[in-house]
């Protein structure tokens, strides 16, 4: 009986040993699997382990549509050592532009902030126009209500405010929305050929309703000093109506009444410079359906594809926060090194002479010249 018992015990212990070995094998494999999975994931998403890495880590979190922070593209002055901006700077002095941006209390942090961080810095003077004053931003309070039907009233009040406080500070007065992106350097190139004492205004010209056409509100429009004077005067003397639900059309009608000319803002190859949409909507053939209002509104023959847009575009509209920075990057920073652009616009001789005169007379200019 002890023999049988012994055999039973022996087989039991063999079984135990087997089970023990199984357990250890499984434990071993499990650990290595677990660890490899963890390591594998890390390995794939691990960012560059640069020893002297100056730039921030990019997380994989896309976040929501509302951009929280701000980006300063101009903290990289080292990258622009080879850049000669003499002509741009001369034009800044010669063609003084005051920009006012149509915004509202809810949009200061959501939209206007990014305008302020990008293109607004290139205006000779910029004002953010809201229904209420905000001393911190800062934003001017027009003492109106908000809403689409208030746009014309806000526009009138904004121009009146500018006329009262800043008339002598600029030659040209630009109105833009908080979702418009404006390239001031190109606007100066466009306006340099004109005299601010002429009654003229520029923008994306639409043809319906007004004989000489009117300018799209969203794409931005710019008034000469004389045009601004006449516009403000027109309300004092009741030449123009105070109320309308369509801001840009009402302004265009008024301009015609007061004999302010609707200018041709196209470049020397006939391409449009002010744009009512983002580049993609103009560049991609078929993006805007044939039945869309746009095709019937444009004063000049509308073009889609590469011919839609000037190299020296002045504005784009419906630009969200991310696209503001993207445009800023594409216009002022990213460039193909050594590339000889096909379109080589210059300024007329007389103007080039004039602005280099201005350059000679000023000593205090900081030159970003050739090293």
């Amino acid at each position: 009986m002890s023999e049988i018992h012994f055999r039973e015990m022996a087989s039991k212990s063999w079984l135990n040993i087997l089970i023990f070995l199984c357990g250890s094998a499984i434990g071993f494999l499990l650990c290595s699997q677990l660890f490899s999975i963890l390591l594998g994931e890390q390995g794939d998403t691990q960012p560059n382990v640069l020893h002297n890495d100056p730039h921030a880590r990019h997380s994989d979190d896309n976040g929501e549509n509302h951009l929280e922070g701000q980006m300063n593209f101009n903290a990289d002055s080292n990258q622009h050592k080879d850049e000669n901006t003499d002509i741009a700077e001369n034009l800044y002095q010669k063609v003084k532009i005051l920009c006012w941006v149509m915004t509202g209390p809810q949009n200061l942090e959501k939209k206007a902030k990014h305008v302020k961080a990008t293109w607004a810095q290139r205006c000779n003077k910029v004002l953010f126009m809201s229904s209420e004053e905000n001393k911190d931003f800062p934003a001017v309070g027009l003492k109106t209500k908000e809403g689409r039907d208030q746009l014309y009233w806000k526009t009138i009040k904004a121009f009146q405010y500018v006329h009262e406080h800043y008339l002598e500070d600029a030659d040209w007065f630009l109105k833009a929305d908080d979702d418009t992106y404006v390239i001031l350097d190109n606007l100066r190139w466009l306006l340099a050929k004109y005299d601010p004492k002429e009654p003229i205004y520029f923008g994306r010209r639409f043809k319906p309703y007004v004989k000489q056409g009117y300018m799209s509100g969203g794409a931005g429009y710019v008034l000469s000093k004389e045009a601004l004077k006449r516009f403000v005067d027109a309300f004092k003397t009741d030449k123009c109506t105070h109320t309308s639900s369509i801001e840009d059309l009402a302004l265009g009608k008024c301009m015609e009444i007061i004999n302010v000319q609707a200018g041709d803002s196209r470049d020397t190859t006939g391409k449009e410079t002010f744009h009512p949409f983002v580049p993609e909507h103009h560049l991609i053939k078929g993006y805007l359906p044939r039945t869309f209002w746009y095709w019937n509104y444009n004063y000049y023959p509308p073009i889609e594809g590469p011919g839609c847009c000037s190299d020296l575009a002045v504005s784009f509209h419906y630009v969200d926060s991310t696209t503001m920075y993207e445009l800023e990057y594409l216009v002022y920073h990213l460039r193909p090194y050594g590339y000889l652009y096909r379109y080589q616009p210059t300024l007329p001789e007389n103007i080039l002479k004039e602005i280099s005169q201005t350059n000679k007379n000023e000593d205090t200019k900081v030159k970003l010249g050739n090293p």
């Binding site: 039991k12 135990n16 089970i19 023990f20 070995l21 357990g23 250890s24 499984i26 434990g27 650990c31 290595s32 490899s36 594998g40 390995g43 560059n48 382990v49 100056p54 730039h55 921030a56 880590r57 990019h58 997380s59 979190d61 896309n62 976040g63 929280e68 922070g69 701000q70 300063n72 903290a75 990289d76 990258q79 080879d82 000669n84 901006t85 034009l91 390239i183 190109n186 580049p279 993609e280 560049l283 590469p306 847009c309 190299d311 020296l312 575009a313 991310t322 445009l327 594409l330 216009v331 920073h333 990213l334 193909p336 090194y337 050594g338 590339y339 000889l340 652009y341 616009p345 090293p371």
Partner: protein, 315 residues
């Protein structure tokens, strides 16, 4: 009896786990010691200095620019057929020569395999045999990548293509530093030569996957390492990556969502070379934004000069 075998099972598991931990720890220490050699340090490659320019100033800018010849290989698959048309119509016009290889509808080699690594090495072998003498740099990218060839040429023009260069956006995985295909892979002629030499023997550079399949870019790195070619991360003067694996909008959003209360200095380089994850429409927009749209009155004193492609409407 059940409880007895249960305990021995768990004892076994415990022993197995502990022994794995011990083995791995010892293994890591061994690797770390080995990792102190310069080979395992992270490599960077930056654009040329002023001094490098001066050495090359006997040539005119045009001669200098014509001296760098880049061969572009678009490699990969895409559900959207329009990519292949758009690629031909956009940035690849700025390459000296382009070969488009759709790995899904293989029309070039008729390889039986769907294995990306097999397809990749066949492509490299084919390109080197046919074009190896006429081009000095070979750039491989996915169909969703947009590349600025002028900036690639600027990065490389003072480099000697008879040296083994292997550049892009590098990633470190374990002790392997490799160029991720999503940012684009640049090989000098010498690297292609060495790769081709290895690939002539079909036993070399076979699939290195052990448990999980290794991606083709990792396989390439392993193979090149065997030939003495090491990956380098390409950067601008400030250390910013010039090969990007994401589109501009995403990079902007990520940078800003990381620092909500602050103003962030841009992480995007003025001389960026690639962005990945673009739709065909975004490629058209990039062509306009890069080769046409600009601010009037800003001029540059560049050492190289590149002309727009002949007959192009979107440049």
């Amino acid at each position: 009896m059940v409880s007895a075998s249960g305990t021995s099972f768990f004892k076994g598991m415990l022993l197995g786990s502990i022994s794995w931990v011990l083995i791995t720890m010892f293994g890591q220490i061994h690797i770390r010691h080995g990792g102190q050699t310069p080979d395992h340090e992270h490599h960077h490659l930056r654009p040329p200095n002023r001094n490098d320019f001066l050495n090359t100033s006997e040539m005119t800018p045009m001669e200098l620019s014509k001296g760098i010849r880049v061969f572009c290989i678009i490699f990969g698959e895409s559900e959207d057929e329009s990519y292949w048309v758009v690629l031909k119509e956009t940035w690849t016009k700025h390459c000296d020569k382009t070969e488009l290889y759709d790995t899904k509808n293989d029309n070039l080699f008729n390889i039986e395999s769907n294995d990306k690594w097999v397809q990749m090495r066949t492509t490299y072998k084919y390109v080197f045999e046919k074009y190896g003498n006429n081009y000095n740099w070979f750039f491989l990218a996915l169909p969703t990548t947009f590349a600025v060839i002028e900036n690639l040429k600027y990065l490389l023009f003072t480099r000697n293509a008879s040296q083994p260069f292997y550049l892009g956006h590098t990633v470190i995985s374990g002790d392997l530093e490799y160029v991720t295909v999503e940012g684009g892979i640049v090989l000098s002629r010498e690297s292609m030569k060495r790769l081709n030499r290895l690939l002539h023997n079909s036993e070399n550079c076979t699939d290195q996957s052990v448990i999980w399949r290794l991606s083709e870019d990792k396989q390439l790195a392993i193979c090149l390492k065997y030939a003495g070619v090491h990956a380098e991360n390409a950067e601008d003067y400030e250390g910013r990556d010039v090969f990007n694996t994401k589109p501009i909008a995403q990079l902007i959003e990520e940078a800003l969502s990381n620092n909500p209360q602050q103003v962030v200095a841009s992480c995007l380089s003025d001389m960026a070379i690639t962005f990945n994850g673009l739709t065909p429409q975004k490629m058209e927009v990039m062509m306009y934004g890069l080769y046409r749209l600009r601010a009037f009155g800003h001029y540059f004193n560049d050492t190289l000069v590149f002309l727009p492609p002949v007959g192009s409407e979107n440049d």
